[in-house]
């Protein structure tokens, strides 16, 4: 059940995303802060992998590096064999705050990536598809401030899905939501990734959430930020609310808590 990734090897077989000895040092007013220390990781195509760990373990930093939003101090990230140096069209990013533009309606928020990419204007069907997928029907002409936090994150998710990225990076997307909405959206997200089969990296500090959604969970530690262990989650798919009743689920959650020193 437990597998530790060996550091420092080149692109593994079947890996679409390859992190090679990433180190990130921030300069906090003269004090060097090691956010990530020598982190290596391989992600397979279509895999859902979560990064869990306490605040300050560098999980969000890692996501920004993969997205090409931040250049690592040392080390490299390869996507499909090519080095990432800047943001790419095939990578989609979702934030903890919905970052919806309040002056745009739901539909126009969703079309933003298409407008920026200069896509041809016949995107109505595509937009209708993602609205269907995240169940936003009937809210197309609402404005963000008319929506609850959960609904806003649905819009953010469809904005991510509309440009059909092959790699989705989700940075604590449900972190600001209440427990009911979070669990409901987890079920929805499981259904969506199982249907679209996208490679997904999911950052959270919620262990049950990570286990419920993932094929693997990378458990991270802080000071310096690093991967402690990568756990396989052998829960059958599709993941449904009842998946939480399975003994394996409870066991993995327990093991991760143990690694993080919560017992």
């Amino acid at each position: 059940m437990v597998s530790v990734e060996a550091a420092g090897f080149r692109q593994g077989a079947g890996a679409v995303l390859h992190l090679d000895r990433i180190t990130q040092v921030f300069d906090k007013r003269g004090d060097p802060l090691v956010a990530l220390s020598d982190v290596s990781l391989n992600v397979r195509r279509g895999e859902f992998i979560s990064l869990v760990g306490p605040s300050g373990c560098g999980k969000s930093t890692m996501l920004k590096i993969i997205a090409g939003l931040l250049a690592p101090t040392s080390g490299s990230v390869y996507l499909g064999g090519s080095l990432i140096t800047e943001p790419r069209a095939e990578i989609g990013f979702m934030f903890q705050t919905s970052t919806l533009f309040p002056w745009r309606s739901v539909t126009r928020n969703i079309t933003l990536p298409l407008e920026i990419a200069g896509a041809s204007r016949d995107w109505n069907e595509r937009v209708a598809d993602v609205i269907d997928l995240v169940q936003l029907n009937g809210f197309e002409h609402h404005y963000p401030r008319e929506l609850s936090g959960g609904m806003q994150q649905r819009v953010a998710l469809s904005r991510l899905l509309v440009s059909d990225p092959s790699l989705m990076l989700l940075d604590e997307p449900f972190g600001a939501l209440d427990e009911f909405t979070r669990e409901h959206l987890n079920t929805e997200l499981a259904r969506i990734v199982e249907r679209t089969n996208k490679t997904t990296m999911f950052v959270t500090h919620n262990i049950p959430e990570a286990v419920f959604l993932s094929d693997r969970v990378a458990v991270m530690g802080s000071a310096p930020g690093r991967i402690l262990e990568v756990m396989d989650v052998d829960l059958p798919r599709p993941r449904v609310p009842a998946s939480r009743l399975r003994p394996e689920y409870a066991e993995i959650v327990y093991r991760i808590r143990e690694i993080l020193g919560l017992h």
Binding site: F93, F101, W103, L112, I116, Y143, R145, G150, T181, H184
Partner: protein, 285 residues
């Protein structure tokens, strides 16, 4: 079963919320407002009128006048052509001053916010001018541009210029960090980021500057007229005050107050239409 129930409770999230159009206008709220404020004004006038009936030593009516004289003077002023001619002058000075000052502030603000070096170079100067009482420039403008309208326009424009400039710079440079990262991750160009993020998100801040500038424009024109001129509302007030026609002074002040209010309501109306999506829009005016 537990899991199913969980799904059910949270699916209420999908029900449509009752929807009131954003930026909608409420007649009930407005009439309530007018009624409450009207009562305050009425009480104030009654007390004033009552005091004016007291001993003239105790209440010098000659310099304080009374509502029963002011209101007739106000309606007389409204129907007098020469009063309107003077107010028209003030209105033109205010309008042109506002357009020049606010327009200039907006354009320079855009320019300054484009480049960090510009911003660094200009900002201390802007703060310096911002904290100078700019009405003190009135005598300079009179000597530069003469007694006519142009000196008042210049003063009005100068006063309007800074709040719009500062708010434009603030609005265009302060954007939510994640929104900026989103645009970066979407590989938006500088122009696209400006067009789709910076400009729209700055509108509420810029509009707040414009609203302040609108009132400032009127102040600039009046102060200019009080300094030196032979026309305009400021001139009317000064002349009437010299002649102890206090009822007329108050009548002209009332007219100015109503013009100011009209400008403010106009700005509020435009704001509700333009930035209906902004949370603060529903706040009372």
């Amino acid at each position: 079963m537990t899991a199913n129930r969980m799904l059910d409770t949270s699916s209420t999230e999908l029900e449509r919320p009752p929807r009131r159009p954003l930026g909608a206008f409420s007649v009930r709220k407005l009439s309530e407002q007018i009624l409450l404020t009207g009562l305050v004004v009425l009480a104030f006038c009654l007390i004033w009128e009552g005091l004016s009936m007291l001993d003239p030593f105790f209440w010098p009516e000659i310099i304080l006048s009374r509502p029963t004289e002011i209101f007739p003077a106000f309606f007389e002023a409204l129907t007098t052509g020469f009063v309107w001619r003077h107010f028209w002058v003030t209105f033109q000075e205010t309008f042109i001053g506002f357009v020049l000052g606010a327009g200039g502030g907006f354009l320079l603000g855009m320019g300054v916010s484009m480049s960090p070096i510009f911003r660094k170079a200009f900002y201390p100067l802007i703060v310096l001018f911002q904290s100078t009482p700019r009405v003190a420039l009135a005598p300079i403008f009179i000597s530069w541009f003469g007694f006519g309208m142009s000196s008042k326009v210049a003063l009005s424009a100068t006063i309007c210029f800074f709040p719009v400039l500062v708010n434009t710079i603030t609005g265009l440079t302060m954007i939510e960090e994640n929104a900026g990262l989103l645009m970066k991750s979407l590989r938006a160009s500088r122009w696209q980021t400006f067009r789709h993020l910076r400009l729209p998100s700055s509108v509420p801040t810029i509009f707040a500057g414009l609203k302040a500038a609108l009132t400032f424009a009127l102040i600039g024109a009046i102060v200019g007229e009080l300094t030196a001129t032979n026309e305009g509302a400021g001139h009317l007030i000064e002349t009437a005050a010299f002649q102890f026609r206090m009822d007329d002074v108050f009548a002209y002040l009332m007219m100015l107050a109503f013009i100011g209010l009209a400008l403010f309501l106009l700005a509020g109306w435009m704001e509700r239409r333009l930035i209906f999506w902004h949370v603060d829009v529903d706040q009372p005016i």
